[in-house]
């Protein structure tokens, strides 16, 4: 089910504030976050994040193409690499 248009994109408040802050000051340290459900907004572009995948934090550098996706989409949560003896 698609999210209702009238609500606008879901953006995690805290993460948004942190990202704006970092951008203003030109800080380059990655922002650690658990907010996988947060939509990537244009303000995040060029920012580095470390997104939790349930186990550890995976580095994600946000580019323009990623706008509109959820930040969790870039930190896979599953580890399956294939069965043994695969061709």
């Amino acid at each position: 089910m698609t999210r209702s248009q009238k609500k606008g994109p879901f953006v995690d408040e805290k993460l948004y504030r942190k990202a704006l802050h970092a951008k203003e000051r030109g800080e380059h340290a990655p922002i650690r976050t658990w907010a996988r459900r947060c939509t990537i907004v244009p303000e995040f572009v060029g920012q580095r994040f470390e997104v939790h995948n349930g186990n550890k934090f995976l580095p994600v550098f946000v580019t323009e193409d990623m706008v509109g996706h959820k930040i969790g989409e870039f930190a896979p949560t599953r580890t399956f690499k294939g069965h043994s003896g695969g061709r």
């Binding site: 580019t63 193409d65 996706h69 989409e73 870039f74 896979p76 069965h83």
Partner: protein, 129 residues
């Protein structure tokens, strides 16, 4: 048989339906095209005059992405997903379904023909029978 948008040769169906043989034209777009061209949707394709065919071709040319252009647009979208490394892109790279379907069974459209694994439950009976 009229030729519209390159090599497409719809047949002796009503024009509403024969237009759908063009890649990028479905039920909705087909009707929109005919409305703009001012042609009845239920005329047989073979009964169209040269002029009418030209009008349809013109409308498609001006307003719609079909065939090669449409195919390229789709693969560009997929390429973007692959490049940004998001979940859907990863699934495309692996040739697995990317809309959350189960892959324990089925998913044959994406995974291709069955690759039987020896020793797996049920395989013995199959090979004996």
């Amino acid at each position: 048989m009229p030729r519209i948008a390159g090599v497409d040769i719809p047949n002796d169906k009503q024009i509403e339906y024969s237009l759908r043989y063009i890649y990028g034209v479905g039920p909705h777009v087909s009707l929109l095209i005919l409305k703009e061209a001012g042609i009845e949707p239920n005329v047989k394709a073979k009964d169209l005059t040269e002029d009418e065919v030209a009008t349809i071709a013109g409308v498609i040319d001006r307003n719609y992405q079909v065939e090669g252009v449409a195919r390229r647009a789709v693969s560009a979208c997929i390429a973007r997903l692959r490049d940004i490394g998001c979940y859907r892109g990863l699934r495309h790279r692996r040739g697995l379904p990317c809309r959350g379907q189960k892959t324990r069974s089925n998913a044959r459209t994406r995974k291709g023909p069955k690759k039987t694994v020896a020793g797996k439950k049920g395989v013995k009976e199959l090979s004996r029978g």
